[in-house]
């Protein structure tokens, strides 16, 4: 007599458990999957303890050459929000989201920024401008508030503080750059990822290679660049964290320019190192640029 009800109770409990867990999810952390490390950092700062963020392309890895693992599709399937840069930066993301069967909304963090053209295509590296980054933060804030209205106040506070930090860094860089004459702000990088940065801060920046990391440079490109470096007396040459430094070293030596240091483009550095958050990355890039451009170097 006592056995049957017990079994029913156990079954009922087993049935109820997932329903109960589902009912609890609004107060659990929102699972956010960001396409790459910089976006993940922004989401983590704005979301705070309301979110748990995972970056598909981690620190020091190249989003252009990303190959998804099954675990990535699983994370997408379980995500409550997917944040991507857009502007064609993650060519693989649409297929991956579709393949994972995820029902989560996809936020394009770059929507609403002033888009920069690069040849026939759109330049996706908009986060390199601190002005555009404030738009990113606003987009992320709105999406997080929509997903977690209960925590709207805290999210809004964090977003506002973060935006103030971004604006303050931007203003400080601009005032320090003002001391350097405009015709001396000439640099060359090995990767054409700094168009937005150059536009925002008034730098004359040229690339050593085509605009994605996928192409191989031709002898004509290298020769043109060396001629240009020599003719325009470019001060500094930069190697960024994800491409072959040897070609740039060769060019610098041949043109008599100095190697300016490392600029971070598409990825944070590993946790605990000099550019492991978006804000630190931008401060590092600014300091490196300013040091290389100082007159009398």
């Amino acid at each position: 007599m006592t056995r049957r009800p017990n079994r029913r109770q156990a079954l009922a409990a087993a049935w109820a458990l997932p329903t109960w867990a589902a009912a609890q999810t609004p107060t659990a952390r929102l699972q956010v999957v960001a396409s790459f490390s910089l976006l993940a950092d922004m989401v983590a700062v704005v979301g705070g303890d309301a979110v748990q963020v995972h970056a598909l392309v981690g620190p020091d890895a190249d989003a252009h050459a990303f190959t998804p693992a099954p675990a990535d599709a699983q994370r997408l399937a379980q995500a409550g929000l997917i944040v991507v840069n857009g502007l064609g930066f993650e060519g693989w993301i649409d297929r991956l989201v579709r393949a994972s069967g995820s029902k989560a909304p996809v936020l394009v963090a770059s929507q609403g920024i002033a888009v920069r053209a690069l040849g026939q295509q759109v330049d996706p590296h908009a986060w390199q401008s601190l002005v555009a980054a404030q738009r990113y933060v606003e987009n992320i804030r709105a999406a997080l508030v929509a997903a977690r209205p209960a925590q709207a106040a805290a999210i809004n506070t964090r977003a506002a503080a973060y935006t103030r930090e971004l604006a303050a860094l931007d203003a400080s860089v601009r005032s320090r750059l003002a001391a350097i004459p405009a015709d001396q702000r000439k640099l060359v990088t090995s990767h054409d990822a700094f168009g937005y940065l150059a536009d925002a801060w008034g730098l004359d920046m040229r690339a050593a290679q085509g605009w994605t990391t996928a192409g191989e440079a031709s002898a004509a490109d290298v020769a043109r660049l060396i001629r240009q470096l020599k003719a325009q007396r470019v001060r500094a040459l930069f190697v960024e964290n994800i491409s072959d430094p040897r070609l740039v070293q060769r060019i610098a030596r041949e043109a008599g320019a100095t190697l300016g240091g490392t600029l971070y483009s598409d990825a944070l550095s590993p946790p605990g190192s000099q550019a492991d958050t978006y804000l630190k990355l931008m401060a590092h890039n600014a300091n490196t640029l300013l040091a290389a451009l100082q007159p009398g170097r």
Partner: protein
């Protein structure tokens, strides 16, 4: 005079004006010098695809060295060298002690090595540095890489001069070599070491895939022209050197990536040789057949 001047501007000027062009050219010429005879021997020994297999076998060694030491030319060359030799030795050993044929065991081991290399790179999570290195750039050749290429080329030529005859005899008549007391197996091992050394030198300059291109294509193309083994290697050297020079000029004037330019030029030479060459070509076959019928 203007024709001469424009020819000078097109063919010589780039190398006069730019150091990186001179370095790239020297690297190509040095590679061509040793790739000619080594490629010829590969073709004669029916190991044309072994070069490709060995080039893939370099990967895990270079990857391990990169993970341990970082972007260091000596360490990565040594690692690649050891890994490829290990694959060659394992494949040879298996072929010797079991009923497996050498090409089958070589395929087995090089695929294991290749997958192991890709696995190692992925575990580290940062594939790009290494991919750049694996697809090395002929335009970025630095002093160390140039010394390596030149050193390997010189050593290869000296060593080949010593073992040329036994190696050839083994290609055509291994029984005779054994009968006169030659040690075919030893020479075969030595040749594999040479092959791996040349691939390592080539992969630093051109990347793994392109290195095999400069090794094999000139040697195969030379078969359509040469009448003796000595001619084969000399013509292969000449084609390799010409393709290095022409490919760099093509890359300079047409703005094309240099590695593929060089190898595609070698490929074009092969295709043209196949059609109009004096031996073993389409022309030779149909022209001589026709003449025989008339006579």
């Amino acid at each position: 005079m203007t024709l001469l001047a424009s020819l000078h501007a097109a063919l010589v000027q780039p190398f006069v004006e730019f150091g990186f062009m001179r370095r790239a050219l020297v690297a190509c010429l040095a590679l061509g010098l040793s790739c000619g005879p080594v490629g010829t021997l590969l073709v004669l020994r029916r190991m044309s695809l072994a070069g490709d297999a060995m080039a893939h076998a370099l990967l895990p060694g270079a990857a391990v060295a990169f993970l341990l030491v970082g972007l260091s030319l000596p360490a990565m060359s040594l690692g690649a060298f050891i890994a490829a030799l290990a694959v060659a030795a394992l494949a040879g050993g298996v072929a010797r002690f079991t009923a497996q044929r050498e090409d089958a065991s070589l395929a087995g081991f090089y695929l294991i090595a290749l997958a192991g290399g890709v696995m190692l790179i992925s575990l580290r999570g940062n594939s790009v540095d290494l991919m750049r290195v694996l697809f090395g750039s002929i335009l970025a050749v630095d002093d160390a890489a140039l010394l390596l290429v030149a050193g390997v080329a010189s050593a290869s030529l000296l060593l080949l001069a010593l073992v040329w005859r036994p190696l050839l005899v083994e290609c055509f008549d291994p029984g005779f070599l054994r009968a006169v007391g030659g040690r075919g197996a030893l020479h075969h091992q030595l040749f594999l070491v040479l092959l791996v050394a040349n691939l390592v030198a080539g992969f630093q300059a051109l990347g793994t895939l392109m290195a095999v291109g400069l090794l094999m294509l000139p040697a195969i193309a030379a078969r359509c022209w040469a009448h003796s083994v000595a001619q084969l290697s000399v013509i292969a050297c000449a084609i390799a050197a010409a393709c290095g020079y022409g490919g760099l000029l093509l890359s300079y004037h047409a703005g094309l990536p240099s590695g593929p330019s060089i190898v595609l030029l070698a490929g074009a030479v092969y295709l043209v040789s196949l059609v109009v060459g004096t031996r073993d070509s389409l022309r030779a076959r149909f022209f001589t057949a026709h003449r025989h019928r008339v006579a």
